[in-house]
């Protein structure tokens, strides 16, 4: 791989990890736009269900901030890996 792309990947991962470390402390816990609109629409909170049982519900791992950081970093690693995998499968073939 060329040098510039190695640098891009390293900078990208560093930035993602910085976000992962800050997010559990800085992110707002208020409902998001869709959740708030569901409240405005008087939609019962029970309307949202989970079809699959996720290992890190709401980006948590246990109930500590550290667990949230770890869950996010696991997610970042899986996303970049799958991103590479999918892009590699569909890429231009000469």
């Amino acid at each position: 791989m060329e040098k510039g792309n190695k640098y891009l990947i390293i900078m990208g991962i560093v930035l993602c990890i910085v976000i992962a470390c800050l997010s559990p402390f800085l992110a707002s816990a208020d409902p998001d736009g869709l959740e708030k609109s569901a409240e405005d629409s008087a939609l019962s909170e029970d309307a949202a269900v989970s079809v699959v049982e996720s290992p890190f519900p709401d980006y948590t791992l246990g109930d500590s901030k550290l667990g949230e950081i770890v869950a996010l970093i696991i997610g970042i690693v899986i996303t970049i890996t799958l991103g590479f995998g999918v892009a590699y499968i569909v890429k231009k073939h000469d």
Partner: protein, 216 residues
């Protein structure tokens, strides 16, 4: 804007899944013709970055929060909403299966809103405005409009699902995402500015210009 399981009846989810499958067909065809190996790392890093930034909810008025989505970002970087479809299918699948953010049954609807509508509206707005108001203002307005329009699409899906009343659904989603769109606009402009400064070779608009010059 992640629709959870349970909001949309399964038969309607199936329709959105059909749209997703058609979209993935076009996206893979685009990739086969345009995605050279050099830009694979960019696509993977954008996917990870979007995953990360989606955890950073920022406060907006009305006791609500919102985060950047990134559909416009990916679509403008590659000058193709197809790229956003690939990136968002990956990110939303992981979020649905591992993090309980957005339902797996709603995956089709969520890709439709954030990548197809979001990426499409952002890119079209950018292309339409860039020659009149300049690249960066066009990116900002494109990102804002993408957030707003995709939120209204999400509202319409919720109305069709029988979960939101017509007027309340459209008004509430619209007003809240008019604010969330500002977050989207600012961050989209910053990321593309940084890429243009350090890796202009990766941005599709620089490649397009080069090939045009050769043609002329």
């Amino acid at each position: 804007m992640h629709i959870p399981d349970g909001f949309i009846p399964y038969w309607q989810c199936a329709i959105y899944y059909v749209i997703l499958i058609i979209a993935l067909y076009f996206a893979s065809r685009w990739a086969r013709n345009n995605l050279d190996e050099k830009r694979i790392p960019l696509m993977a890093v954008l996917a990870a970055g979007i995953f990360a930034i989606m955890s950073m909810n920022l406060p907006i008025p009305f006791g609500t929060s919102g985060h950047m989505v990134g559909g416009t970002l990916v679509a403008i970087v590659f000058l193709a909403p197809e790229a956003a479809i690939l990136v968002f299918t990956v990110v939303l699948l992981i979020q649905a299966l591992l993090f309980g953010d957005g339902g797996i049954t709603a995956l089709g609807a969520n890709v439709l809103n954030m990548a197809i509508i979001g990426g499409g509206v952002g890119l079209l707005t950018f292309k339409g405005l860039k020659n009149f108001i300049g690249k960066y203002p066009a990116i900002g307005i494109g990102a804002w409009l993408a957030t707003f329009i995709s939120a209204e699409f999400c509202a319409i899906e919720m109305i069709i699902a029988g979960k939101f009343p017509l007027i309340i659904g459209l008004t509430s989603m619209g007003i809240l995402h008019a604010f969330i769109g500002i977050i989207e606009a600012v961050l989209t402009v910053i990321v593309i500015y940084v890429l243009e400064k350090y890796r202009p070779d990766l941005l599709a608009w620089n490649r397009k210009r080069k090939s045009n010059e050769l043609v002329i």
